[in-house]
């Protein structure tokens, strides 16, 4: 059986997210409850979470979450990591033995800073250095897979139903200001842990429901710029697109969202001139980054949360707010089960991204 | 306004119709001596041979006159015109007019044939009545003799040849159809008529006398002495303008009624005349002559009608144009076909069964004779009428004339049908 990266596997999914704009902490049990409600939207072949603000004591260090399939991979990957980073702490991620999750890899996490000398020699900026290291491990170190590489955040994922994954990772022990969750329904059954969502690079994490029909156009676009879409998943390519647009091209997140879900030409033609020019240029320059096909995406980052729907609104995505919190889920019920009386509920419309910025600057101390 | 038109053929009907076009309310009365509504006199030979029904000979449907409010009085012989009281007398009644038009047409010229007058099987050939009488007499054993090889005589001969045993045509002139054919073409036409119609010609002959049994002619004796058996004698040597009525009314008349060549007005300002009864001026050579042809009669009738109703239509110029067919042989002629003199040149194009003779005066076309080559003859006619400079035309005019005879500008006008004629 081929796994992600060897074959492209389309899949359907459930997604959910919670953010507290003010940085208030939310316990992992809440997001598990929300995603669990949408049990039927996944088929036990993948579940996962991303949590922001969970490692305050290591907030300035990269937190690498890594799957090891064998000891040799563990050894060589760790060698690589220690060469390129000054690792402060290496430990197994605590898990709970449950029946529903089995056959898992060895799961480790590392906290550390970049090796300044190596980075200087590489002539790359820090984030690019980190990305290239991650890409290197994931493409060249068979059996090792870095599935989380941001600061003060982490991804937790496995093959299984999301609620089981949450229990497995004991997420009720974590508090975060931003949670995203994903339950997967792949239409093929490779059962590889790395293939579960969220997908992460640096601080970006993406959960995604749908199948982007522009996948290869987007992949071949983004691979021009040094990315390697090793996973062949939509989530991966969307993550890279955001990373590229925001980090390399310096675009605001909401502009990057416009690139992915740009309005139709008909609509652009009717716009007033400034907006028309903006979108015309945007579409002309980034035609390869336009994402097409049914999808709903929740992008988590240390800047906030972005929820987008495809241009034709072919996938469901509901949003709600209450107080400083915003909730997102594939189904409204998954919001109401944890927030029975939201102040506002709406369906995220096609090509109109919802951006919930974090109102505290996570990188203040950087 | 009261209008009276005497005569219900080409000129009379055209006159009445034109009056109606220009005067929607005036009272129009047309007198015709015929007992039926206006019909096509030239069709009588076709009636004779049986290719046209009497009902198809009517020029207009009967309902037409009611719709146009034109009163036709049939079988009405106008006896006199009372110019002083401005009325005409027909039957026992007198009809007042404000404007009058005389369109009395032609009368047959009957040659003096000894012992022919009053015979029951001798006829002229001008109206339907004649044709009906002849048709009643003619049968498949009938031997017919036609005196005159002009248009009327030959049409009679053609008609008879279809229903009679034999037809002999006697003509004083040395050729057939002398008014429309030159010598050369006449010869070939004669040959055609002999073979196609089995008509026997006796040229440069007259009928000296008729022999009869009682009031029935049995044979005729030619000037040569030759005797032809004859069961039916047609006297068709020609026609003369029917100008007696005008003459009696004191109007100016010589061979025909004298009229103003543009307005058709006679010497009486309230009386007009049009058609075969008048003397026309041939625009091509300025000669005064009787042009006893249908298109000329209609044009004159229209001009007369317009003038009578106070309109401005005139006849720009008269010329003769004639088309006729014998057994499918199409003969088409126009203009000065018998022009003589060094001013005129001609060009003859003979090919196969067709003959084309174009007559020029300098660079102008002034006449044509077309035998089985009459395609688009009207283009020649228009060249004659407009006096176009032939040497300035880019295209060939000797073949079948078409739009490409003309330069682009003229051609565009013609292709759009916008000629100002």
């Amino acid at each position: 059986m081929l796994k992600e990266g060897q074959v492209r596997i389309p899949s359907g999914c459930a997604i959910a997210a919670i953010i507290d704009r003010k940085g208030g902490m939310i316990n992992g049990s809440e997001i598990i409850k929300s995603i669990a409600l949408m049990h039927d939207r996944s088929n036990g072949l993948g579940g996962g979470f991303a949590a922001y603000g969970i490692y305050p004591e290591h907030k300035d260090e990269y937190a690498f979450h890594i799957f090891y399939e064998n000891a040799q991979a563990h050894q060589s990957c760790e060698d690589f990591l220690f060469r390129h980073f000054n690792i402060d702490l290496a430990e197994r991620i605590p898990t709970k033995t449950i029946d529903a999750i089995s056959n898992g890899p060895d799961i480790w996490r590392y906290f550390g800073r970049v090796n300044r000398v190596r980075m200087k020699n590489s002539r790359l900026d820090e984030s690019e250095y980190v990305v290239q290291c991650v890409t290197k491990v994931n493409s060249a170190y068979d059996g090792a897979y870095i599935f989380s590489s941001g600061k003060n955040m982490g991804c937790f994922k496995a093959v299984g139903y999301p609620e089981d994954v949450g229990e497995f990772y004991m997420l009720d022990k974590y508090d975060a200001y931003l949670w995203t969750a994903h339950g997967r329904f792949p239409t093929n059954t490779p059962g590889w842990w790395g293939g579960a969502h969220p997908f992460n690079i640096l601080d970006w994490s993406i959960v995604h429901n749908g199948e982007i029909s522009s996948y290869d156009a987007n992949r071949r676009y983004i691979e021009q710029f040094g990315y390697k879409c090793t996973m062949q998943t939509d989530t991966e390519v969307i993550t890279y697109l955001f990373d590229h647009l925001v980090r390399h091209h310096g675009l605001p997140v909401n502009v990057a969202a416009d690139v992915l879900t740009a309005p139709e030409w008909d609509e652009i033609d009717r716009m007033e001139s400034e907006k028309k020019e903006y979108f015309t240029n945007l579409r002309a320059i980034y035609s390869g980054a336009l994402v097409n096909g049914p999808f709903s995406v929740i992008l988590g980052s240390n800047k906030g949360l972005l929820a987008i729907n495809d241009r034709l609104k072919l996938r469901s995505l509901t949003a709600a707010t209450k107080g400083s919190r915003a909730y997102f889920a594939s189904e409204e019920s998954a919001i109401r089960i944890i927030c029975p009386e939201p102040e506002k509920v709406w369906s995220v419309s096609g090509a109109e991204p919802v951006f919930v910025p974090l109102e505290i600057d996570e990188r203040e101390d950087d | 306004m009261k209008y009276i038109v005497i005569g219900g053929s080409a000129a009379g009907l055209a006159c009445a119709e034109q009056i109606r076009r220009e005067d929607k309310t005036g009272e129009i009365t047309v007198f015709t001596k015929e007992s039926i509504m206006p019909y096509s006199r030239p069709s009588i030979s076709y009636y004779l041979k049986g290719t046209v029904k009497e009902s198809d000979m009517l020029l207009r449907r009967n309902s037409y006159y009611g719709a146009e409010d034109i009163k036709i009085i049939t079988a009405a012989q106008v006896k006199a015109i009372d110019r002083k009281n401005k009325c005409v007398k027909a039957g026992r009644k007198s009809y007042p007019y404000d404007k009058l038009c005389i369109c009395t047409g032609s009368k047959p010229f009957v040659p003096p044939v000894k012992n022919a007058a009053g015979k029951v099987n001798a006829f002229t050939f001008l109206d339907l009545e004649n044709a009906k009488q002849i048709k009643a007499k003619a049968g498949k054993n009938t031997r017919a003799v036609v005196i005159g090889a002009g248009l009327i005589g030959m049409k009679a001969a053609e008609g008879l040849s279809k229903i009679c045993k034999s037809v002999d045509v006697v003509e004083l002139a040395p050729r057939v159809l002398p008014s429309i054919l030159d010598e050369k073409s006449a010869k070939s036409v004669k040959k055609f008529l002999e073979t196609e119609g089995h008509i026997s010609f006796h040229l440069e002959q007259t009928v000296a006398e008729a022999k009869s049994k009682g009031d029935v002619i049995t044979s005729v004796v030619l000037s040569s002495g030759k005797e032809l058996p004859c069961d039916l004698l047609i006297l068709a040597v020609g026609v003369r303008p029917e100008s007696g009525l005008a003459e009696k009314a004191g109007l100016e008349v010589n061979r025909g009624i004298i009229i103003d060549p543009a307005t058709m007005r006679t010497s009486d300002e309230n009386i007009y005349a049009a058609g075969d009864c008048t003397v026309s001026v041939d625009m091509l050579d300025g000669s005064r002559k009787v042009i006893a042809l249908w298109p000329n009669a209609v044009n004159q009738g229209i001009a007369a009608g317009s003038q009578m109703a106070g309109g401005g239509k005139t006849v720009a110029g008269s010329y003769s144009v004639n088309a006729i067919d014998f057994y499918g042989l199409r003969i088409c002629t126009c203009g000065l076909i018998n022009a003589k003199g060094s001013r005129y040149t001609d060009k003859i194009i003979n090919s196969g069964g067709s003959y084309k003779r174009l007559i020029f005066e300098g660079n102008k076309l002034v006449g044509y004779v077309l035998i089985n080559s009459s395609e688009n003859a009207g283009i020649y006619t228009s060249l004659i009428e407009t006096g176009a400079d032939i040497s300035a035309l880019p295209g060939d005019i000797y073949g079948t004339p078409g739009p490409f005879v003309f330069a682009k500008a003229e051609r565009d006008i013609r292709m759009k049908g916008a000629l100002a004629l």
Binding site: D216, A217, P294 | -
Partner: protein, 501 residues
Amino acid sequence: MSVNYIPRRFTVVRDKELCINCGCCVRQCSNECHFFGDDGKTVFSDSNSCVACHRCVDLCPTGALRIEKYVCDYRENANWTPQYQQEICRQAETGGVLLSGMGTPKPYPVYWDKILLNASQVTNPSIDPLREPMEIRTVLGRKPEKLTVEKKGKSTVDMPPQVMLETPIMFSAMSFGSISLNAQKSLAMAAKELGTLFNVGEGGLHPDLKPYTDRAIVQVASGRFGVHSDYLNNSRFVEIKIGQGAKPGIGGHLPGEKVSVEVSNARMIPEGSDAISPAPHHDIYSIEDFRQLIWAIKQATGNSKPVSVKIAAVHNAAAIVSGCARAGADIIAIDGFRGGTGAAPARIRDNVGIPIELALAAADQRLRDEGIRSRISLVAAGSFRCSADIVKAIALGADACYCASAPLIAMGCHMCQTCNTGKCNWGIATQRPELTKRLNPDIMYKRVVNLINAWNHEIKEIMGGMGINSVDSLRGNRLMLRGIGLSEKELEILGIKHAGE
């Protein structure tokens, strides 16, 4: 006629029972295959000069005519085929290079026919193009590296000149001279209505095309015919023609008899003189020279237009494309070796160059490997026979496609491949006034518009099936393609998987 050792190619079969001797065929055949007998009434045919252009067949009101292949067997020989023998005889007779028109008829692989398209099922809804917006608008031109904004909704980027097409299909270069003005006019009118561009080729710009210059691509080719400042500026963009798929490495030769007054005016050469396009541009012997020409054209047009370069698909097309991109070309057209021509040496046409599919795939990948694919536009040319070919080309990586033969066929071309004779019965590849008037632009532009609209509909239908609603998402989307019956190497070059994978 002297004996030429070559059997005729076709037989004109006249069904005497149906033939009404109207003589339409007689008057329509410029090859004089049909004639009236001595009676001037009965029509006969002489098949010797028939080129199977079907003018007579299509216009015959009673369907009395049929063109058959003239079957005359040679002793079987897989090596010395009749065609080679006949070509030898023709050359033995004339001592000349064999000339031919249109694209190669040789049975080289057509990769379009070995590529299959994908469609959505279950996991991804297909889109109904009649209900949902389906975008095929294409923007050509050099793109800046990135968008810069003051804020969302306000762009601050300095955008180079762009060309917006309402369909990814453009009409490829066909000069006035190689085709008739009426044919060019039809394409110009169609381009205007379709919101796409036509290419005037290297024959200059006839004044009648002035109303369409905002839809015109003007070429600067090795002969520099008709090139002047007005010419360059009266265009949507300027294309430097380096090569042509049907005759890579070969110049052009428009014989003097085709250089009518009009052609001579448009080309700025004396009437009746041969118009010779040299094989190379004599001011471009290197990529540096080429760069200077691009610069010169951009100067001459005040940097108001993209500059395109058209190259023939040759063995190292990918590297050449990359070089062109770096030399400043904003749009690069690659013309595959099956592309058409007004006249080319048959030997060159049938043997030189590579198929567009491979050249395009290689060039697109090369540009991506170099990270510059998104900066320039890639146009594919060289025989697109249907909308599916276009879809496949775009999925391989083309921004737009150049079509010429298809619109010509829409205008009546029957691929008789005798464009070089100048006797085109359909009024396309001829300058004879009695033939060119057969092509009524008012009719033909509509047919071309219909054709491209039909293809547009099909492209949208296919995209909808894939679950894609913008051609942007089809471009380079090779996952939508699968090879069938292709070798590993071919799949590798095309960058696609085999069907079933």
